[in-house]
């Protein structure tokens, strides 16, 4: 399972939410982006996710979009279950 993260570092804090809204009908047909604050979102990696990233790059001011490949969230083991140790 792989994801991409799209980060925005420009002056318009609404940029990402606006572009998601603009493409919402299309994105609804695939998997929904998950926002972390206003300037970072994560999408399940797929051809449509990459297309959305391309649209972000095209619409944003130069050098204000960064795209990160992401494998998965780090799974911090909540507890060590001593019950499982023999």
């Amino acid at each position: 399972m792989a994801y991409i993260g799209i980060g925005y570092s420009g002056d318009n804090p609404e940029f990402l939410s606006d572009i998601v809204a603009q493409h919402q009908v299309w994105l609804q047909g695939d998997r929904q982006p998950k926002f972390f604050g206003k300037c970072f979102l994560i999408l399940y990696d797929s051809n449509t996710a990459r297309e959305f990233a391309k649209k972000c790059l095209a619409a944003a001011p130069e050098d204000s979009i960064s795209i990160f490949p992401m494998e998965k969230a780090i799974d911090f083991k909540k507890t060590v279950n001593h019950d499982t140790i023999h």
Binding site: G29, D30, S46, R50, P69
Partner: protein, 679 residues
């Protein structure tokens, strides 16, 4: 009966395919004088609209439709209309239906003007996860019937193909190999770029498509080792352009969360890309001929069963027994005698084993009622599409010499695939596997007897079962496993933990599985209570047996003095206790206790077709072991068993001795000629 040879003769393949034509034609709906559809835009059965994602929802409308268009186009391309089809299909009729079907596809694409209510919010198809594939198949159709197409329809198709190809210019392909590999997706997206390049060589975007092809093709099948390939590519290096990892380092990958070897048949899409260049008499780009595709093909081949179907060590969430006659297309394109032999065997199997009861029954994947729509039509049309491709793709006509021994040696395998957690042994007589990561996230132990490859299915938790206790078991996880190659196979052991709905550990289970001789498995299994609990009366260690069309709707059971034939049409559900410490089914497979217990073996008929919840196409009976209900204290043994499962019709002289230590260490197993001490 059709006599297939390794030299593919399109006429014979189309003859086989013609059996399904009445079924496909029955799905046709005329919408207007110019448009129509194979299937239904909102199927009553197998409708997955609740999924909500565009590709699954639209796929069961568009994909079967375009599959059938390709099938009919193959008949037109080959200009072959056998006499027994004459009352159903003529050349004129086929051309008319393909034209109408292509018109409908163009109109309902987002570059068209016709809304379809069931196509979610946008009410059109296009720009979807799979729509590049759908458009590629339109392009393929347009080539096959090119001499009949009007200029207007040709232009409309070009518009759709160009739109879908444009999506992949100026961006990098998606990545990932675990849970859901991007192998197939990237191969399919490469295909639409290839078709666009060939259909529209004068298009303004040609250079962009060419660049996109170069980048996507190098990222179809990529692993970490390609990051170490610094050879020249596009003025830089392969490493530079390889931005994905769609394969694990051992060249396996996961789909739907586990390894299904069929995912390695992605080469079919590459062949369809290369075919675009061949059809239009252009040079095939070298990048489509990567060595890694041959390597993954070699792995796929090792999972092909003697009837030509593909073994699924981790079980499968598709219908059972879907034939894929085009799965080995990569080998066929490269003149691989193993691929030719396997494909021929599969065609023969389809010819003799899959005979629909009448013209309107489902043709290729029995067990479904015919509804002529939705996913059912998709599965049935996909097989037809693959046959059609076998008949039209220009495979090499010269054949290399080979012997059966060479072929068998080539697929003799003893391998541990660590990334997908599969231990695998295949020889001429059997295929054996242990998949620690499998359907339902539970391990699956698999056996296939090559003399009767349809008999056993590695279904969910096969040969283990999922135990039940007071308070319920809701989750499980593999704590660890240790896998070893042995001289003649493998030996693997590990622990499974079971939890209730509150994630409290209820049970832990030690299992150990080793290959035995040429054709069997020895399985040790011990379940411990992790807390005080009541362990329910239940059946465990199930062997799933196909009692359906593929096994002639009956199973013969022998156990000691018991002789029974269980008919598939008998739904009494009566359990049969086996009186002996062994049982054999169809004189082909033997289950025999060898440690821990010597009774409780029970035959449990399936009451209804019993497969994953969407695709109930196969009745599975069960041979399982009765486990008594009991109150257990923490660390008590709730269930323990050691048994043999392998080819055979009568008990073998098994003996076991020694004391059982951790993970069954210390036990010695003998069966006359073989002795093994577990260490």
């Amino acid at each position: 009966m059709i006599q297939f040879t390794e030299k593919f003769e399109p006429v014979k393949i189309l003859r086989l395919l013609s059996r399904a034509i009445p079924y496909y034609l029955k799905s046709w709906q005329d919408y207007t004088p110019e448009t129509g559809l194979f299937g239904n835009t909102n199927p009553k059965t197998f409708n997955m609209q609740e999924v909500g994602s565009s590709s699954p929802v639209i796929e069961y409308v568009i994909r079967p439709h375009v599959n059938v268009l390709c099938i009919l186009s193959a008949y037109v391309y080959k200009n072959y209309f056998p006499n027994d089809l004459s009352s159903f299909l003529t050349r004129e009729k086929a051309v008319e239906l393909v034209h109408k079907g292509l018109h409908w596809m163009c109109d309902t694409h987002i570059t068209g003007s016709l809304n379809i209510e069931s196509f979610l919010a946008r009410k059109r198809w296009g720009e979807n996860w799979r729509s590049g594939t759908w458009a590629s198949l339109m392009g393929l159709c347009s080539f096959l019937i090119s001499d009949t197409l009007s200029g207007e329809l040709t232009e409309k198709i070009k518009t759709v193909v160009a739109f879908e190809a444009d999506r992949f210019s100026g961006m990098l392909p998606p990545s990932g190999c675990d849970v859901d590999t991007k192998l197939e997706e990237n191969a399919q997206d490469t295909m639409i770029i290839s078709w666009a390049l060939n259909i529209m060589p004068d298009h303004l975007h040609y250079d962009k498509w060419q660049q996109a092809l170069n980048i996507w093709a190098v990222n179809i099948a990529s692993s970490i080792r390609h990051k170490a390939d610094h050879s020249e590519y596009l003025g830089k290096s392969v490493s530079y352009w390889t931005t994905t990892q769609t394969l694990f380092p051992d060249l396996t990958a996961e789909n739907h969360g586990f390894f299904n070897p069929e995912i390695l048949s992605y080469g079919t899409w590459i062949v369809l890309s290369m075919a675009a260049f061949r059809f239009y008499n252009r040079d095939i780009p070298d990048i489509l001929h990567r060595k890694v595709h041959q390597e993954t093909f070699d792995i796929l081949l090792r999972f092909c069963l003697p009837n030509g179907t593909v073994y699924t060590p981790c079980s499968s969430d598709y219908p059972f027994f879907i034939p894929h006659p085009f799965a080995l297309a990569w080998g066929l394109w490269n003149n691989d005698p193993r691929a030719q032999r396997m494909t021929t065997i599969l065609l023969g199997w389809m010819d003799t084993r899959l005979k629909p009861a009448d013209n309107t029954a489902v043709p290729w994947i029995p067990g479904f009622e015919a509804h002529y729509e939705g996913w059912e039509l998709f599965f049935q049309s996909q097989v037809g599409f693959e046959l059609a491709m076998l008949s039209v793709i220009p495979f090499p006509e010269e054949h290399r010499f080979y012997s059966m021994g060479q072929i068998e040696n080539a697929i003799d395998t003893r391998h541990i695939y660590p990334y997908v957690q599969v231990c695998y042994r295949r020889n001429t007589r059997t295929t054996r596997s242990v998949a620690w990561k499998a359907l339902g996230r539970h391990p699956v132990i698999g056996l296939n007897i090559h003399s009767y490859p349809e008999l056993l299915i590695p279904f969910r938790a096969n040969l283990l079962g999922i135990p039940n206790v007071d308070g319920g078991i809701r989750h499980w996880e593999i704590a660890f496993h240790n896998d070893f190659l042995k001289k003649a196979g493998f030996d693997t052991y590990g622990q499974i933990d079971y939890y209730n709905s509150s994630y409290e550990r209820m049970l832990y289970r030690h299992i150990r599985i080793m290959t035995w001789g040429d054709d069997g498995l020895v399985i040790f299994d011990r379940i411990y209570a992790a807390r005080d609990l009541f362990f329910y009366e239940q059946y465990l260690s199930p062997v799933y047996l196909v009692n359906d069309i593929w096994t002639n709707n009956k199973l013969d059971l022998i156990s000691g003095s018991l002789r029974e034939t269980i008919h598939a049409y008998n739904f009494s559900g009566r359990h049969m206790n086996c009186p002996s410490f062994w049982a054999s089914i169809e004189s082909s497979v033997l289950f025999q206790f060898l440690w821990g217990r010597n009774k409780g073996l029970t035959f449990i008929p399936g009451n209804e077709r019993n497969a994953p919840r969407y695709w109930n196409n196969c009745r599975l009976d069960m041979l399982a072991v009765y486990a008594e209900g009991k109150q257990c204290k923490k660390d008590d043994i709730a269930y323990e068993i050691g048994f043999y499962l392998g080819a055979g019709k009568a008990p073998r002289p098994f003996k076991s001795a020694g004391s059982c230590g951790n993970f069954f260490k210390g036990i010695v197993v003998m069966d006359g000629k073989n002795t093994a001490g577990l260490d």
